[in-house]
């Protein structure tokens, strides 16, 4: 029996500070044992427990796509005990990851459809994984039009800036990056994500929206999509809860009778409607 509580050892091979406030970093981790990478077969939308012996564990969405083998990436905001310790780590350190955990973005369902990816702030991580996955050369033909709308409060708070610059040059991806308020160097769009969604007005025809962001963004973005004609079955999001075990045993991340860790974190709005509003 595989012990799901034992983390795989990984080496931190690259750390990127994503934002000018320096409290969001992306950690690139490589498996110490090659066979562990085989066991850690994941899909975009899944998460893992980042495990720091002596500190604890923290459930974080996987920010990389399995189409980029050899490593796994996590973008982490410095907030609690574990993430603060993580932020103090240097390249070359050995740590652990446990997973992959949870379901994934509905990749099969998205096939043959137009996909609208909407992200706000630092909640763009598993959406980046999804986008990387869909635009990978072997996968791109499976999906229709891909629209990505991504916003942050300021230009300095946008994550994955180099990747966004590369995506903006692609003709098979309709990218709209916005900030609430620009600075003197900002030449891009200004405006809140819901407003930009309204302006871009992606068609609901054969389309699915995948939305992640702070609650306030979600609250104002959903009505825009309903107005555009998206049904609740065709809007997906990902939930976060306090977690420990990650496999539906420790009892704290349930929303109604579903556990976010193993039945989620990805739910359609139609599925969420059937659950209790306790998250």
């Amino acid at each position: 029996m595989q012990n799901p509580y034992v983390p795989y050892p990984v080496e931190v091979i690259k750390i990127v500070t994503e934002v000018d406030t320096k409290d969001i970093k992306t950690f690139r981790l490589a498996f110490v044992n090659k066979e562990d990478e085989e066991k850690f077969k994941y899909l975009p939308g899944q998460f893992a427990e980042l495990s720091l012996f002596g500190k604890g564990e923290s459930p974080i969405g996987i920010a990389s796509s399995p189409t980029n083998p050899g490593y796994v990436e996590f973008t982490v905001q410095k907030a609690g005990v574990v993430t603060t310790a993580l932020h103090e780590m240097e390249e070359g350190t050995i740590m652990g990851i446990r997973g992959p955990l949870g379901n994934s973005w509905p990749l099969d369902y998205l096939e043959g459809k137009n996909v609208v990816v909407v992200g706000g702030g630092f909640a763009f991580t598993t959406l980046r994984a999804l986008t990387q996955y869909m635009i990978h050369e072997e996968n791109r033909k499976k999906y229709g039009k891909i629209t990505v709308i991504y916003g942050a409060r300021t230009p300095g708070l946008l994550i994955y800036k180099d990747e966004l610059a590369a995506w903006s040059k692609r003709d098979d991806l309709d990218l709209h990056v916005t900030v609430d308020k620009g600075d003197e160097n900002w030449k891009g769009r200004e405006g809140f994500v819901p407003t930009v969604c309204k302006e871009v007005a992606p068609s609901a025809q054969n389309a699915v929206a995948v939305i992640c962001g702070p609650p306030i963004m979600i609250r104002f973005t959903l009505p825009v999509f309903f107005e555009l004609g998206f049904s609740k079955e065709n809007i997906y999001t990902s939930l976060e809860m306090r977690m420990k075990c990650g496999i539906g045993k420790c009892g704290r991340c349930n929303v109604g009778s579903k556990y976010v860790c193993k039945d989620g974190p990805v739910f359609s709005l139609a599925e969420l409607d059937k659950l209790t509003p306790e998250y």
């Binding site: 029996m1 012990n3 799901p4 509580y5 034992v6 983390p7 050892p9 720091l52 012996f53 002596g54 500190k55 604890g56 564990e57 907030a79 609690g80 993430t83 070359g92 350190t93 050995i94 740590m95 652990g96 976060e240 809860m241 306090r242 420990k244 075990c245 496999i247 539906g248 045993k249 420790c250 009892g251 704290r252 991340c253 349930n254 929303v255 109604g256 009778s257 193993k262 209790t276 509003p277 306790e278 998250y279």
Partner: protein, 341 residues
């Protein structure tokens, strides 16, 4: 399935013999309490008792257990070993309600996809010897309302039922049959089995406390928001006693502990009654007050577990009723809900 008859007075001797090769857990009087604990060489198990204060779930799911150990090295802190320690264990004198809790916990810890190796390792090595209830029960006993009964065999490997000055010993599983040699005795007679039925019926009728536990499911399905949820929690102290004594409560926390270069990861019982249980690093708490926590406790036992495993996560032992410092009574909650339908 083998059935034997043994003399009542032979039981303590049989247990002593079993104790020579296995660790035995049994009810023991400790000061004013009857506790379910490991039997020390100088201790005798209690035979005449109603139930233990603590639930025997702690044998498989201890209050604190080491999950793994690690050590600091120049390159980082790395795994040193995993602790799945489990020797042969015999649990003697488990009551049928508590034995049933093992069957309920198995559903969670031994699921098809996600197995909990710590629980399973201990459970597989353990033989559960249950003592049927035949005496006048506690006023707080309500096993018959949640699918159990005083002579129920669910979760047991061996079931002992007192009939006169003898025990009818039923070996229910291959694991239980391993103990047959220790018990010896005579083959059970048809008369003894008939007597057991009488004892069983009498014991069932003696459980006076009855609640409509199965009937409230449809109300719970439809009433996550209802003024009733404002009426339970106000006197709750959030002490967690109900969850710690509950044979089916299984929530836990995982924490790390380090001393110099050596460390360990532990799992400890946790409780949905505690404010921190669901509080996130951001400060957001999906269950911000005791009201939501109580709703969670009731829903988990009588709806969520039923949704997921088709079983109520309550065995009717009455411990939470008996030991709540402010007299919150789950039976009254269930009854009150049934009147709302």
């Amino acid at each position: 399935m083998e059935k034997r008859l043994i003399k009542k007075e032979a039981l303590v001797g049989i247990l002593k013999k079993i104790g020579e090769t296995s660790t035995v857990f049994a009810p023991v009087r400790v000061e004013d309490n009857v506790l379910f604990k490991e039997l020390e060489p100088h201790e005798e198990p209690l035979i005449d008792y109603l139930n233990t204060k603590n639930a025997p779930k702690g044998v498989f799911f201890p209050r604190t257990e080491v999950m793994l150990r690690y050590v600091r090295t120049p390159k980082g802190t790395v795994l040193k070993g995993v602790e799945l320690a489990a020797g042969e264990v015999v649990l003697f004198g488990v009551r049928p309600c508590d034995a049933r809790s093992f069957a309920l916990l198995d559903m969670l810890f031994d699921q098809e996809k996600y197995k909990d190796p710590y629980y399973i390792a201990k459970r597989e090595k353990a033989i559960v010897v249950t003592l049927s209830c035949h005496q006048i029960p506690y006023a707080t006993c309500f096993c018959t309302s949640v699918g159990g009964d005083p002579v129920d065999s669910a979760g047991s490997d061996v079931l002992l039922t007192e009939i006169g000055d003898e025990y009818l010993v039923e070996f229910l599983t291959p694991k239980g049959e391993k103990l047959a040699a220790f018990f010896g005795g005579a083959p059970a007679t048809a008369e003894a089995e008939k007597k057991k039925e009488e004892v069983s019926l009498k014991a069932k009728n003696a459980i006076a406390s009855r609640i409509p536990a199965q009937e409230i499911k449809s109300f719970l399905d439809a009433n996550f928001d209802h003024p009733f949820w404002d009426t339970i929690h106000k006197r709750c102290l959030a002490c967690g006693t109900c969850t710690y004594l509950c044979p089916t409560c299984h929530c836990f926390d995982i924490s790390d502990e380090m001393k110099y270069d050596d460390g360990r990861r532990l799992r400890n019982w946790d409780s949905c009654m505690y404010p921190l249980f669901t509080k996130e690093t951001s400060g957001h708490n999906p269950r911000p007050t005791q009201k939501e926590r109580w709703r969670q406790r009731v829903m988990h036992k009588f709806k969520y577990y039923v949704d997921n495993f088709s079983a109520i996560a309550c065995v009717g032992c009455g411990r939470c009723v008996m030991y709540c410092p402010v007299n919150i009574d789950i039976r009254k909650i269930v009854e009150d809900i049934s009147k709302l339908q």
